[in-house]
Symmetry: none
Amino acid sequence: MIKPIIGNVDFIESLRGKKATFMLALSNTKTANIEGITQAGIPGMIYLTPTLDSEFVCTGEVRSLENIAETPKGVPTPALLTRGVHLLAPYGRVELLDLGLEVKPKVDYFKIHSFNIEPSQNIAKGANIEAQELFQKGVDFGQSYECKDEYIILGESVPSGTTTAMATAIGLKHKVKEYFSSSFKDVPNDIRENTLKLALSNLTHNDDIFSVLSKVSDNMLIFNAGFILGLNNRVPLVLAGGTQMACVLLIVDRMLKLMGGRMESSNLSLCTTKWVAEDKESDIKALLELLSLPINAYYANFDFALSQHPALKLYDEGEAKEGVGAGGALIYGFLNGLSKEQITKQVEAFLA
Amino acid sequence: MIKPIIGNVDFIESLRGKKATFMLALSNTKTANIEGITQAGIPGMIYLTPTLDSEFVCTGEVRSLENIAETPKGVPTPALLTRGVHLLAPYGRVELLDLGLEVKPKVDYFKIHSFNIEPSQNIAKGANIEAQELFQKGVDFGQSYECKDEYIILGESVPSGTTTAMATAIGLKHKVKEYFSSSFKDVPNDIRENTLKLALSNLTHNDDIFSVLSKVSDNMLIFNAGFILGLNNRVPLVLAGGTQMACVLLIVDRMLKLMGGRMESSNLSLCTTKWVAEDKESDIKALLELLSLPINAYYANFDFALSQHPALKLYDEGEAKEGVGAGGALIYGFLNGLSKEQITKQVEAFLA
């Protein structure tokens, strides 16, 4: 059920049966307001997606809107998977990271870590992020964070976050275009390509790493890179995501090189979905192979083959691939005894 | 599976996946010796019920008698639910509070907190409780108690405890008769009504709160009111019970008003069964709405609809409703991934 992308199964097997803190990094970038750039949410209300996702994972209810976030074609949010696993094989706790939200999640009792971070701007015009300060906030949080479970699963909900991740990886001068997305190859996406071109055109040869990040990145990428360095291998960490989490690792890797530093990374891993791992239009494995930092990466061998629900079949058709830590959630479910059948039925029950 | 009675789901959802200490408050009142006043146990041996319940929850065996406590009509003790959940999704630990037992539970290795408390007398003649001293023991215990899990579920087993709870609520001058039980309305229960009348006739206008409690209450109610005040919101607490636990809260509320005190109650909740929540002959919601203290309250959406066992069907027919923390146990089960099917099968297995 759990397949390695890089490394062997030992790291993830050593977490079998253990409780994890599920941490959800939430952020808005105004890049998502560009019409047509993302499917992750309700047109005109894309900015609500991380808020609604986190409300649903915590409480099973969406409070800042009546209906759960759906993409225009009706692909339901991957938060259904994350919540579904929580009902069947609960995480030790769910904690939220407010990394710049337009609308705060309406949940009581759940820990919401706040850092006084504003949503970032549209990268086409310059994201205008205080990157060094934000990165430092991530480092501080990683250094001081006390995990009450045995490991951390870190997911994210950042609409248009794959676009800002791609801009960031390219801005850091990785040759990654072909590893990211079809948008550039078989299925050119003018909106996204145009946004990237505009974003990258703001960069100059004099830009240092923080200057690059401040222009073309998003809060989640920068903060989490700091978080990983601050945590410094102290607690097993599952980055639950696809190319965005890979980009976080590219930032970490670059930062370490810059500082001439080293970090033990035996406790660092990435877990994603089959839809990402088998995506023909991106290459998560190649992205991870760019890293000097050795890590283990896995995907959950889960699809909706057992479901007849048309909205869920869209996942298997590549319309949605990852998000809200779905891949890490599925792997957590498998590590705690759940079957593909059980998870499928639970997700179907949400849509009934 | 978990439905709010008062408040929203956030408090209980924040406990999803977390381990609880299951604490069982055990007490005898000689009120239970009045023939016909309670169904909770074996005629002539009603006083053994809390002892047997606690032995069964801890060990799966009833040691102080051959067969598990049954009511005359053969309604099995709700301890079956409490133990059943423990087998499928174990509590972090089970601890017993001896609040005045005729017979000590025969269990080794389990923590039995003892406070040198005697069983209380029949309220018809005056319960004769050293109420202030007992209350203070509860406060002390709450102040010093160190929870080794993430929260506490506090259940009770006190035969005829609903009668003493009703006497207490009325004695504290709450207009609650109609919120408690049918005994006074459609189905007059002469024995119970007579007992209450006799109990209340012992009260005078000069009685202070402790004097009232000493005459018409029981040890569990008084001690737990002190416990809640002593704990002072320091640890999340689930009061697992129906009208008796609501009465504990009425005492807490009255005590706070008397002292002009305030207590943060965000970590205080009540969890009960569907049989109590939907009981047409009592009104748990109305009882809780008497409180000045804001709390969250929930019920477990569980019944024996999936069972064909005649003894279990009696629950759905209203013959037994709550006790031994069954409602809190069911909610704990749901918070830890159990389904109605699993719990039903486990309970049926005990009766096979």
